[in-house]
């Protein structure tokens, strides 16, 4: 089981038989506690981002968003995601294909390897690339001679983001493709289909929704990554700042409402991510219903 967060179908709960469930008043107390907890821990911070962002009025809110430094941070964030997400998607598909359709030794070890970036602190994720490519790093002098800048420049940010988001698509696809088995693909192969056809026409339609969900999650994390990028970027305004770093800089300069205005962009990204997740679940639930 490689994925801890998988597409979870929200099934409607029929009322359980009375003898194996709690009395109604207990149910309502527990529901109230759960709602209170979630409201305090999750909802409150979410709402506060928008409230703080608009604290100085709508005018300043939009001004904060369209400032040149914000726009270049946005551009950099989008570029980094546009590189990291497709690369990790290709990796995820390849890894899931190898793991789910074939038998080989060391499969569990490989799955654990893929999960590694999940267990590594983001700061360490950035550190390792500084160690490799920084001025005092292993490849530092070699890169210097050729005038290539990786750390404190865009390539370093891209690398760190790729590292942090490597597992996302793979973790979505591996359990999904394992559950789907090899029968359909083998049937296609026995009918004479070549590798490419098998993948595009048999496998891909089956994993469509899991793939979309994995890409969306990967994208959300790629655009929101903070710790790893913070180490690698050098925080050079207008050049090596991503949106999350820009939020930090504004906050540290006490420009609170501007900071929250930019943060609200990222909140909206998170909300869109979750809406897409909801759509994916609904669609995949619908197609499962058809199979029963």
């Amino acid at each position: 089981m490689a994925g801890a967060i998988t597409v979870y179908g929200n099934k409607e709960t029929a009322q359980r038989p009375k003898h194996i469930t709690e009395p109604k008043y207990v149910q309502w107390i527990l529901i109230a506690i759960a709602l209170l907890f979630l409201g305090l821990v999750v909802l409150l911070p979410l709402v506060s981002v928008f409230v703080e962002g608009f604290r100085k009025g709508a005018d300043l809110y939009f001004k904060g968003l369209t400032e040149p430094d914000t726009l270049s941070a946005l551009k950099l964030t989008l570029i980094v995601a546009a590189i990291a997400v497709p690369l990790n998607t290709v990796f995820g598909v390849a890894a899931a294909w190898a793991i789910s359709k074939f038998q080989f030794k060391g499969k569990n070890f490989l799955i654990t390897l893929i999960d590694l970036p999940f267990a590594v602190s983001p700061v360490i994720a950035g550190l390792i690339y500084v160690l490799m490519f920084g001025a005092q790093g292993y490849f530092g002098p070699w890169l210097d001679d050729r005038g290539i800048q990786i750390v404190f420049a865009v390539p370093g940010i891209v690398l760190a983001t790729i590292f942090v988001t490597v597992p996302f698509v793979a973790r979505e696809l591996i359990p999904l493709m394992q559950a789907q088995g090899v029968q359909q693909e083998e049937a296609a192969a026995s009918l004479g289909a070549k590798g490419g056809s098998i993948f595009w026409r048999v496998t891909l339609p089956n994993i469509k929704w899991g793939l979309i969900y994995g890409i969306i999650l990967c994208n959300a994390r790629a655009m929101g990554e903070f710790g790893a990028v913070s180490v690698v970027s050098g925080h050079i305004r207008g050049q090596t700042n991503t949106l999350p770093l820009h939020v930090e800089i504004l906050y540290n300069e006490y420009q609170f409402s501007a900071s929250f205005a930019v943060a609200s962009l990222l909140v909206m990204l998170a909300v869109i991510t979750l809406i897409v997740k909801g759509i994916v679940e609904w669609k995949s639930g619908a197609s499962h219903a058809g199979n029963h």
């Binding site: 709602l35 390849a94 590594v120 999350p244």
Partner: protein, 277 residues
């Protein structure tokens, strides 16, 4: 007799496995190895004194204990939330269910500034707690709250599917044998959920010790008191003390790897015990 020919009924094994291994080595393994190689450049004495420096030890302690408390809180309340979501019907459930994913999808820096603003002395919750003498921002309590936010989805989303698939039969048997509901919960249901609860806790804990973005704003980063280990690494990097930063990182990586192995072991054991439908 399954020979190697039968295994390769489908094409693309070499290509996909080869690319997978290449990518993982390039992006993940080799850079991670660089940490350990760098620490080998230090003598044992240097390494030991760096790792056991009081400020460094304090940062491990702070990271570890705050993650532990946050993990425990998440285990209890996460189980509650998962229970309520799986077993009770109530209006707005879908919305509540998607709330659980917010910490997973939200950038850590955004969570960090939002939580700091709420729990600061002048914040919505901070101003309510201040007269009671409870300080949240710039204390370990603040760090714990941030880590609870971050770790919540790990517990809930791990427990939910297992809870969903729990058979009614065991609870019915307990009722028939005369157990009241509370006893059934503690003696029948909870033990069944223990492995998955442990896994969720371990995931939240592992995430907690390495967390940076959401903690760094609310903690105030005071050495020996609220300085978490990742922050110390960052500070050393800014001072160009690469050796020191790497030494701390090596210790944290080792702990992370061990945790990861434990988690995967737990998940593997759980999937072996599950009786396939």
């Amino acid at each position: 007799m399954k020979g190697s020919k039968a295994r390769r009924a489908l094409p693309g094994f070499g290509l996909s496995l080869g690319f997978t291994l290449f990518y993982i080595s390039l992006i993940v393994l080799i850079p991670l190895a660089a940490v350990f190689f760098k620490t080998f450049e230090l003598s044992w004495a240097e390494l030991w004194s760096t790792i056991t420096n009081p400020r460094v030890l304090a940062s491990y302690r702070i990271s570890f204990t705050t993650a532990l408390w946050a993990g425990l809180i998440n285990a209890v309340f996460g189980l509650l939330v998962a229970w309520v979501l799986v077993r009770y019907p109530f209006p707005g459930k879908r919305f509540i269910d998607s709330l659980v994913d917010i910490p997973f999808a939200l950038p850590t820096a955004v969570a960090g500034i939002a939580l700091t603003t709420i729990y600061a002395k002048t914040g919505w919750v901070g101003s309510l707690l201040e007269p009671l003498g409870i300080k949240v921002a710039y204390t370990q309590l603040g760090i714990i709250i941030a880590l609870v936010f971050i770790g919540l989805p790990f517990v809930v989303r791990t427990v939910q599917p297992v809870l969903q698939d729990l058979e009614k039969e065991t609870e019915e048997a307990a009722v028939m044998l005369g157990a009241y509901r509370r006893r059934t919960f503690f003696k029948v249901v909870l033990p069944e959920l223990m492995p998955t609860l442990l896994t969720g806790f371990a995931l939240a804990f592992a995430r907690g010790i390495g967390e940076y973005g959401s903690v760094v704003f609310i903690s105030g980063n005071m050495p020996m008191r609220t300085e978490i280990a990742p922050l110390l690494i960052m500070t050393k990097l800014e001072q160009y003390d690469y050796a020191g930063a790497t030494a701390i990182a090596a210790v944290m990586l080792t702990v992370s790897f061990i945790l990861l192995l434990i988690i995967n072991l737990l998940q593997w054991r759980m999937s072996r015990r599950a009786i396939p439908d």
